[in-house]
């Protein structure tokens, strides 16, 4: 009898089943991601001394972060790099994604999987592969050496090389996000626009771009955020001129052990990421995106 009424109760309130299925994942992410983020917010107001954190509340870490010219340079460098890399990925990614979605035919799954696959081999091995090509003893410079030409300095431990590395790492995100939006886009709408007198370019601006803007924006955010916080690429591909805030941040948690300052840097990077999302959010208007809300 109890079993029956319990079952009846859960059937009457789908909210219970919803909670039973969704709560574990939500709690996991809240505890595993949000609490730690909250913890570094707290630590960013503390003080580190000889590798220990002390709860002496102050704004000293932020004062250091914003006051020292070196950190300002690191941050601006990270920001400019992230913006440029996002823009390059956008400009290179759109035509590629469009071509695959529109003209890929029966090969489009293969074409897009080939673009996505390299992402999954991990950051460090992809950087290693890039070094094999660009580094001082890499294919390009050794090749130039063999034919008696000087090496290309611009590709060895420079900001350019670090930027190129970031494009290499994250362009699969951009292409995949735009592609996934385009496969659900009804290309017949373009023919309607053309029959009604729009030239191809105009049809793109009026129809294709706005209806795929959400996918594009997601791609942009997915490229921008890891680029902004990147520490590994500048370390191995950029030279001393390429130090980013992420690199400095990882140093605070590594060699120098100044966790409080590192936490402040982390909080700052996270805030800037959130700002980027908030800047893009108002441009996403579901009603004008063709989103029907049918599934939610």
């Amino acid at each position: 009898m109890t079993g029956m009424s319990l079952r009846a109760a859960s059937r009457r309130r789908p909210g219970l089943r919803f909670a039973a299925l969704v709560a574990p994942g939500v709690l996991f992410i809240v505890i595993g991601l949000m609490l730690p983020l909250l913890a570094i917010v707290v630590f960013s107001f503390w003080r580190t001394q000889s590798y220990e954190l002390y709860p002496d509340w102050s704004f000293d870490n932020y004062r250091t972060l914003f006051g020292e010219a070196a950190y300002r340079t690191f941050f601006l460098r990270s920001l400019v790099t992230a913006v440029l890399v996002t823009a390059i990925c956008l400009v290179c990614g759109w035509p590629v994604a469009y071509f695959i979605a529109r003209h890929g035919g029966r090969y489009r799954l293969l074409l897009v999987l080939l673009l996505a696959a390299p992402f999954f081999t991990g950051v460090i091995l992809r950087i290693a592969a890039l070094q094999g090509l660009l580094g001082p003893v890499g294919l390009i410079n050794m090749g130039l050496n063999v034919v008696g030409l000087p090496p290309i300095e611009a590709l060895m431990y420079t900001k350019l090389a670090a930027g190129l590395g970031l494009v290499y790492l994250f362009i699969p995100f951009m292409v995949t996000a735009i592609y996934l939006s385009l496969v659900n886009f009804n290309f017949e709408l373009l023919e309607v626009a053309k029959i009604n007198g729009a030239r191809p370019w105009r049809a793109f601006i009026e129809i294709t771009w706005p209806l795929n803007w959400i996918g594009t924006a997601i791609g942009m955010v997915l490229v921008f955020i890891p680029c902004l916080a990147n520490a590994v690429t500048p370390r191995f591909l950029g030279g001393p001129e390429a130090t980013s805030l992420g690199m400095s941040l990882s140093g605070q948690f590594g060699e120098t052990g100044t966790w409080a300052l590192g936490s402040a840097m982390g909080v700052f990077l996270f805030t800037v990421s959130l700002l980027a999302i908030f800047c893009l959010a108002p441009t996403i208007r579901l009603k004008r995106s063709g989103f029907t809300g049918a599934s939610l």
Binding site: P14, G15, R17, F18, A19, L21, V22, P24, G25, V26, F28, I29, V30, G32, L33, L35, P36, A39, I40, F43, L53, C92, V96, R106, L109, L113, L115, A117, F120, T121, G122, V123, I124, L125, R126, A128, A129, G132, L133, G135, V137, M142, Y168, I171, P172, P200, I225, A229, A231, F236, G246, L249, S250, F253, W259, S263, G266, L269, S295, L296
Partner: protein
């Protein structure tokens, strides 16, 4: 049919992007078999790099750790993401959108930030040293988000009325899940498992900070890369690339021939 210049230039862009992405990978694989890694021309092949790699106790310890880490993270991710996606799509709730946002939130936090914040939280709040369980959990955070999206993509097209039909004909909820729902959605669960496995296996920054001194393949590679590109790194990169491509090729062939769809319908 005449191909327009726009289409031609787009296909050229696609070709260039493939060269850009696969040039370094191809070169690494080629060089991993070369006797001279600095200037491997004319080709002279050897398996020395692989022999060194397999005989290195550091690399084999790291491999075991990476495999355990990846398997644990993938199991956690698949279970949480699968349950979450089913709950969100199947049952009405006013918390649906909030839950959806939380599930995809990890995609918008950089690896480095996940790594250092979990490190700080573990060390100073929980008093835990670096350990494999924390690293599994931390990797599973990201894996859950990716897995959730993969499962959701297939599940939005699942017709839940099918379960109603089964229940009217006498199937109890659990029977219904195994008999009707699971046979239809397992490819997306499997896809989510594979993707979160590969992500955790190759992750550097999250694992690095949450594991402490325990080596994984990416962290050993990182350490070794600091001293320059050695032959064993070429061999490792070639192997990992090969592994990822075998998995992707298998997924592609299964989808191409309609065996399973992994939630993808554009074939």
């Amino acid at each position: 049919m005449k191909t327009s210049p726009a289409t031609l230039s787009m296909s050229a862009a696609l070709g260039l992007l493939y060269v850009f992405l696969y040039g370094p990978i191809g070169y690494v694989i080629y060089t991993s078999f070369a006797a001279d890694i600095v200037w491997p021309f004319p080709p002279s092949f050897t398996l020395q790099a692989y022999a060194d790699l397999f005989s290195s106790s550091l690399y084999s310890e790291a491999l075991v750790n990476s495999l355990m880490l990846a398997a644990g993270a993938a199991v956690i991710s698949t279970l949480l993401a699968g349950a979450g996606a089913i709950g969100i799509l199947r049952f009405r709730s006013r918390y649906r959108k909030a839950a959806l946002l939380i599930f995809i939130a990890p995609l918008f936090v950089a690896d480095l930030l996940i790594g250092i914040s979990v490190l700080a939280f573990n060390a100073r709040v929980l008093g835990l040293p670096g350990n494999l369980i924390s690293a599994m959990a931390a990797n599973a955070i990201q894996g859950t988000a990716f897995g959730f999206l993969i499962i959701l993509a297939q599940l939005v097209r699942y017709n839940w009325d099918m379960d109603d039909a089964a229940m009217v004909f006498g199937a109890k909820p659990l029977r219904c899940f195994f008999e009707i729902t699971l046979p239809t959605i397992w490819p997306s669960l499997f896809g989510a498992f594979l993707i979160s496995f590969i992500l955790a296996f190759n992750n550097l920054e999250i694992s690095f900070y949450t594991l402490g001194a325990i080596p994984t393949l990416p962290s050993v590679a990182w350490g070794s890369l600091r001293f320059g590109l050695g032959p064993e790194l070429f061999a490792l990169a070639a192997l990992v690339n090969g592994f990822v491509f075998v998995v992707f090729a298998a997924m592609y062939l299964l989808m191409r021939f309609g065996v399973v769809r992994f939630g993808y319908r554009g074939v």
